[in-house]
């Protein structure tokens, strides 16, 4: 659009203002995790690592971290595979009820987490799973696979659909064509999707809180801390979770946007 330089500057500044708003809670969290005062406000006290020490000698938090790692290690590959399968099926095949399945697959993120949590809790306790790690894993797969599907489907939209058939015309079987054509051109998007699933699973608290019972993940532990009292320990744990999720999401974005094969950011 042809507008004056001043208008452009105002709009750009507004962008940075909103970015500052979005990052403000993340930045203060890091600052107060290193601040000695018990009540977090300004002016700041002295610099200290005490809150990290206090947080990581907490047995409940350590077992919660372990739970988060176990859950993520199962959820990320399974969700990514399922999301990949659904994206590939949508790209490659036409069948009755395909649209219905797509709508169904994109529905979970749109239903309030408390509602999913309640439904899951009722359902999983009927089949004797509620309060277990598998319950958390099962529900996280429901919540994260739509993300994986969406990202991988975007990548499929950029693949030349004839390549796979060309490979088959040259005598390759379905599986061979899959191995030679589909895997190489989607593997980056698949890896990015796995990182995203990991990030979402790591930060999920609502459904986990409902179905996990006494099995707490890191985010549920943070929720319990929040319920009990204000403590700079939350800042220390929070900083760690921020570092983990920001690393994961930046990794995913790097994979998706980098030049070369496999990213969805490439111009066709």
């Amino acid at each position: 659009m042809r507008v004056s330089a001043r208008t452009k500057t105002v709009f750009r500044l507004f962008c940075f203002l909103i970015l500052a708003f979005l990052y403000a809670p993340i930045v203060t969290n890091f600052v107060f995790s290193l601040n000695s005062d018990r009540f977090p406000t300004i002016p700041l006290g002295e610099a200290t690592l005490d809150w990290y020490r206090l947080a990581f000698t907490d047995d409940l938090l350590r077992s919660a971290l372990l739970n988060s790692v176990i859950v993520g290690a199962i959820v990320a590959p399974v969700s990514t595979l399922m999301g990949f399968a659904a994206a590939y099926a949508d790209y490659r095949f036409n069948f009755f009820g395909k649209r219905l399945i797509l709508v169904l697959a994109l529905l979970p993120p749109l239903i309030p987490l408390v509602v999913i949590g309640l439904a899951m809790l009722a359902y999983l306790s009927r089949i004797g799973l509620s309060g277990t790690l598998p319950a958390i894993v099962a529900s996280h797969i429901v919540l994260t696979s739509p993300f994986a599907m969406a990202i991988i489907r975007l990548r499929f939209a950029q693949i030349d659909g004839d390549l796979e058939f060309a490979a088959q015309n040259l005598g390759a079987s379905n599986w061979r064509a899959f191995r030679e054509v589909i895997i190489p051109s989607t593997k980056t998007a698949v890896l990015a999707a796995a990182l995203l699933c990991l990030a979402v699973s790591f930060d999920e608290y609502a459904v986990t809180w409902f179905v996990g019972g006494l099995n707490e993940t890191t985010s549920v532990r943070i929720l319990s801390f929040l319920q009990s009292a204000v403590s700079p320990r939350i800042n220390a744990i929070g900083s760690v979770t921020f570092i983990v999720s920001i690393t994961l999401i930046l990794g995913a974005q790097f994979l998706l946007l980098r030049k070369g094969t496999g990213g969805i950011g490439n111009a066709r």
């Binding site: 507004f14 406000t41 929720l223």
Partner: protein
Amino acid sequence: MKSFVTRRLYSHAFYGVTWTSPLPIWLAFFFIGPVVLLLWLSFWDVRNFVLTPDFQLDNWIRILSADYFWTAYFRTSAFAAAAAVTVSLLALPCSLAISFFFAMRGRLILLSLFIVPFFTSYLVRVYSWQIYLTENGIISRLAEFFGVNAASLLNTPFALLVGFVTLTFPLVIVTQSISMLSIDRTLIDAAYNLGCGPARILTAAVLPAAKPGIVIGALFAFIFSFGDFVTPTYLGGGKFTTLSILIADTVKSGQQWPRAAVIAIMMIATLLSVALVSIAIAYRRK
């Protein structure tokens, strides 16, 4: 030869089923199953603190005739609507800037920066906002420094809006930007050649063409603010009971799951209707 052909066909069908079925099967077991049970559960009975399968309308009658339910219902809807409007208005200038005032590289970097917070812990960010907004918190200390007397901003509708903007802004800006970036640039050039100024180009060309993204973005903001229970709990201090708080309280404090199920179904029904209306508005042609 015939057997070879059937084998090929069979293997082709097997190949298709292998890829098509896993996600629908999983969702059938762990998503459709729970939601259907939730529907059924709303007709169950609680006898001596034990859930008993039944078919009675008592839960529905009780909830739908309770004043506290309707208060919470309209409060939740009002907050979600306010959040949708606020976030959309704040995101519009940003997505305009991203789409028209930055080059490709700047666009990608900015969008990435806007997306990152969405995938970080909302719980911890809410805790940080408490630090800002509470009595003697960062904002009131700053105000004090400038000689303004600012009481606690926590537990006010403003605090809730701060939370909802934090929660939903990334979603809204991405949806708006996608639809603005896909506008045909010749449309804008044509408007310019016809003598339109920037304001007229915005209202006559850009906004109508980007309508789907703007409406769907607002819908996302509404959905996420409507269902969230962390914001009203920790930034509203429990002063504003919303539907999600009602559900969380009911479930964690006792066995009244059937009544919570009624509230949950009302939430799903509301969101579905809002979604259908929004989609109809978004893609309606004049």
